[in-house]
Symmetry: C2
Subunit: 127 residues, 2 copies
Amino acid sequence: QPTASDATVAAVLDALAFNDKGLVPAIAQDAGTGEVLMMAWMNAEAIAETLRTGRITYWSRSRGALWRKGESSGHVQRLVEFRYDCDGDTVLVLVAQTGPACHTNRPNCFFNAVRDDRIEVISDPVA
Amino acid sequence: QPTASDATVAAVLDALAFNDKGLVPAIAQDAGTGEVLMMAWMNAEAIAETLRTGRITYWSRSRGALWRKGESSGHVQRLVEFRYDCDGDTVLVLVAQTGPACHTNRPNCFFNAVRDDRIEVISDPVA
């Protein structure tokens, strides 16, 4: 993943429709397996950093700060491809994930499933 | 996909953390191919209907009404599995998609990609 130029970063930011808090939801999908890993939020700064560095950076709504995924855990996400949707209000990042994506140490965050008419936890922590 | 009981619907709604507008983002993923099709929003009523009927129903923020996906286009989504994430603020529905998922008649909504340092449209309308 070559880093994006300033012109491309500007074009992407211009194409996106941020919400009233200046954020867009960003879905992270494993580029190899197709597994949906997590959903978090990005602001313009997070998107610019993601595109420039090739390292996925979100905006932490709870901390009110950039969240360089894996900065403390080591479970970084490398950008494979950056996409956005038809109306520009959702981002999809294809990533190469190091370690588990979820803070529970599960491979992905979507481990609660309705099966057999009840809620089941369908994966275990891996680390 | 058997329909969910009232008890299961209630348990799911209780586990979810709706935002200040009573909504959660819902990611639709093709259960067969793993393709991320679209992201839309669900409120409690949309989730209950989705779980009870096995037919994906969103909440249209623009229309302020339930959006039974495919009601006008025929491009319905049948629920294969309902999942939600670690902190209950995002839903992932695995679906069987009839026709293109996107209103542009592309297979999915994420057809804008950054490639070779520019924005490319990576799929064509199929219908």
